[in-house]
């Protein structure tokens, strides 16, 4: 695991070289521990997300069931990819959902043509969305700033309109329009053979779930979730390597001052295009996984509200940080699920310990923000984060940590804050 065989004494090498050598899997110690944290979170998610016994009233806050956990990691991948573009280069794409949609469609097409093995579907979704991103990126990246945002938005809306209506005409039905693309028994499925009639990886059905019951707790281990989680960890690792590479440094230079970069004789466009394509491939992979978990792809995945959602996740978690997008994706998907479930009677049950008048008043105040009103909460939260915490949850966490340390130790705060920030990045 470690490459300490060629380790040279510290005194012999200059500090910078030493830092470069002293790595695990190509990561510095800090990054590696971050990776370990992500691996632990991803692998132990069925336990961590199920802290309440299933017969208790708090069970509704559990999130440890397969469908939701899959969403956490899939949207985590989407957000990690978006962050490579937005966090590093500062180019705000408002059309990333187009790649998610293209990935979804490609994966379902593989199911229709080859059979239910997810591997070809996922691979094709990466390739197709990469090509698609190359095309859109080549055109959009000729402009920057607000123009880039609007161009990507226009492309995504165009793809959405095409997928929704044009590409579903009977002669050339690529997307199946409003119904959504799905697998029918009349589809060829050349390589299907007698494998499972649902998405599977070489025979291991994606929806296969082992349930472990300990007392009142039920922990569910789902094959599909673990496939997505492993892919997410790999994606995360790749993004860490990318962040720390000279290429990542170049992208940061684009963000901090593109003009200056141009004056030094560097053509920034190949770098931004590469970042755009990589991030489009991440989005396509996420789309492919969505289809692999549930073999149905609809055009609404490409709508610009979906593009807005990934922007929200990235900003909320902390754009430009490594762990931020994953946190943001989990946070939004978790609260989307929990908040949408709460209805008026649940609220009444919560506040039932209060006097009647007060109970009704509290329910009336809280009710608009939960259930169907979840988007209102989301919009408010988003505004608050942009206004007060432009660095997202990660920055918030760092601030808290700083305050904590100041209380305990007094001095040395600035140093700690600086290292924290580096760790987060």
């Amino acid at each position: 695991m470690t490459d300490r065989t060629d380790y040279t004494p510290a005194a012999a090498t200059p500090p910078s070289r030493r830092a470069a050598r002293d790595t695990i899997l190509g990561l510095t110690k800090q990054d590696f521990s971050l990776l370990l944290v992500v691996i632990a979170l991803a692998m132990l998610a069925p336990f961590l997300l199920n802290p309440f016994p299933s017969n208790s009233a708090m069970a509704q806050f559990n999130a440890g069931y397969p469908d939701l956990m899959q969403r956490f990691v899939i949207f985590g991948i989407f957000a990690i990819g978006f962050n490579i573009l937005f966090g590093l280069t500062g180019y705000l794409s408002f059309g990333h959902a187009a790649f998610l949609g293209v990935g979804s469609y490609s994966c379902v097409w593989m199911f229709k043509l080859l059979g239910y093995n997810v591997l070809p579907g996922i691979l094709l979704s990466i390739v197709v969305s990469g090509l698609f991103a190359l095309l859109i990126g080549y055109v959009s990246l000729r402009r920057s700033g607000i123009y880039f945002s609007i161009l990507t938005l226009a492309f995504a809306q165009m793809s959405f309109a095409l997928a929704y209506s044009v590409l579903s005409n009977p002669a050339f039905n690529l997307t199946n329009g409003e119904t959504g693309l799905q697998v029918y028994t009349s589809d060829p499925q050349w390589l299907q053979g007698d494998g499972p009639r649902a998405p599977h990886l070489f025979g291991l059905a994606m929806r296969e779930t082992e349930t472990l019951s300990i007392g009142a707790w039920n922990f569910q281990f789902n094959a599909g979730y673990y496939l997505c989680a492993v892919i997410m960890v790999v994606c995360f690792y790749l993004s860490v390597r990318l962040f720390r590479s000279p290429f990542g440094m170049m992208l940061r230079a684009v963000k901090s001052n593109q003009q200056r970069l141009n004056y030094t004789g560097v053509n920034a466009r190949p770098y931004t295009l590469a970042a755009f394509v990589i991030s489009g491939m991440y989005a396509g992979l996420a789309g492919g996984l969505l289809s692999a978990m549930d073999p149905l792809a609809g055009a609404e995945r490409m709508q610009w509200t979906a593009s807005g959602e990934v922007v929200l996740m990235t900003i909320l978690g902390g754009a430009g940080t490594l762990i931020g997008p994953v946190l943001g994706a989990g946070f939004i998907k978790y609260f989307e699920n929990i908040f949408s479930k709460i209805n008026e009677s649940t609220l009444h049950a919560w506040f039932s310990f209060l006097p009647d008048g007060l109970e009704d008043a509290l329910v009336a105040i809280v009710y608009p923000f939960v259930g169907k009103g979840w988007h209102l909460t989301l919009g408010l939260l988003f505004m608050l984060v942009v206004i007060f915490l432009p660095g997202g949850l990660v920055q918030g966490g760092n601030k808290m940590a700083t305050i904590f340390r100041r209380d305990r130790k007094g001095g040395g705060v600035e140093d700690d804050a600086a290292t924290q920030r580096q760790a987060g990045e």
């Binding site: 161009l151 988007h375 209102l376 919009g379």
Partner: protein
């Protein structure tokens, strides 16, 4: 020829809405340098001012005197509108019938106020932040406004009819010497176009012929110098933000009879209006108006059966296609000037 004219007319009403929203967006870009993603929400709020007013006018109470008996012999009480109590039956009915045009009078102060509050309360703090932050915070605000409207008015479109006098259609063909019934155009769309033209003319006249407008134009050209001359340019820009909000709001008020308002109409128009602004040229007011009408008409031509059979689905994507072509061939848009919102 008739078909050609008809398509131009059909494009005018949507084009008017695009032009009005794009005009407001451009005013905000030009003065404050802020990218306002909540502008579509302002359009939507305007439409819901009209909805609210027409609902208020329909409030009624039971009459104190029975007007007769129903078939069981019980006394029957009619519903009496409050407006009829206050203004008398005739004026009351007229007010109810003309609810949409009357809403203009209400919408102007309301939208100005919303504009001021938005600028002072939120946008002001984002002048120095990057454009991405401005986009994001106004996007968040748009979501919030739209969800608030959804909470109070529900998710379904709310039909709000035009006054009786403007229902029905106008036979344009006869006027121009064509056969009857070849070019038929609803009266209200005509009203909308004329109304939009008046608003646009008023905004331009205001900027061109008043001292206030002159100062604002000077501020758009060079904010710092105007500030150094001892003029409180920020205050004037705030007022311009209010005016831009009012323009979007009025566009929404008058659009209600054409398209029943729902909570996401703002978002639907916003994306297209941005495209319009970009095609017209960022920061150019005539460009925004021109591009608004051009794209509206182009869209209506693309929706003809002739166009859709030639290229299926062209009506869905034509505006985006044009925007992409324009941005790539004329990066500053049709009438964009050098140095305005370049990067």
């Amino acid at each position: 020829m008739e078909a050609f004219l008809l398509q131009i007319l059909n494009g005018l009403d949507k084009g008017s809405a695009y032009a009005l929203i794009a005009l407001g967006l451009t005013l905000i870009f030009g003065t404050l340098g802020v990218v306002n993603f909540a502008h579509g929400a302002l359009f939507m709020l305007g439409a819901f001012v009209a909805v609210t007013l027409s609902r208020l006018l329909q409030l009624s109470h039971k009459a104190s005197e029975p007007s007769g008996t129903d078939f069981l012999g019980n006394p029957r009480y009619d519903d009496v509108l409050y407006v009829e109590d206050i203004f008398g039956p005739e004026l009351g009915q007229a007010l109810l019938d003309w609810a949409v045009p009357v809403s203009i009078l209400v919408a102007i102060p309301v939208m100005l106020l919303i504009g001021f509050v938005m600028e002072r309360g939120l946008i002001k703090h984002f002048y120095k932040r990057p454009h991405a932050d401005q986009i994001l915070v106004t996007f968040g605000l748009a979501i919030v406004l739209q969800e608030v409207i959804k909470y109070f008015y529900g998710a379904n479109p709310i039909p709000t009819p035009a006054p009786d006098a403007f229902r029905g259609s106008f036979d344009f063909g006869v006027l121009l010497g064509f056969d009857p019934n070849t070019i038929i155009y609803p009266y209200w769309r005509l009203v909308y176009f004329v109304f939009a033209a008046i608003i646009i003319a008023a905004v331009f006249a205001f900027l061109q012929f008043t001292t206030f407008g002159m100062v604002v134009r000077a501020g758009m050209a060079d904010r710092e110098t105007v500030g150094l001359l001892g003029i409180d340019i920020d205050r004037r820009f705030t007022i311009m933000f209010g005016i831009a909000a009012a323009v979007a709001g009025l566009a929404g008020v008058m659009y209600t009879p054409i398209n029943p308002p729902n909570y996401h109409m703002g978002m639907d128009f916003l994306v297209l209006s941005f495209v319009v602004v970009v095609v017209g040229g960022m920061g150019s007011l005539p460009g925004a108006v021109l591009a608004g009408f051009l794209l509206g008409i182009l869209e209506s031509f693309a929706s003809t059966t002739w166009a859709t059979t030639a290229v299926p689905g062209i009506n869905q994507i034509i505006i985006y296609l044009v925007a992409i072509v324009v941005l790539l061939t004329r990066p500053r848009g049709l009438m964009g000037r050098r140095g305005v919102m370049e990067e």
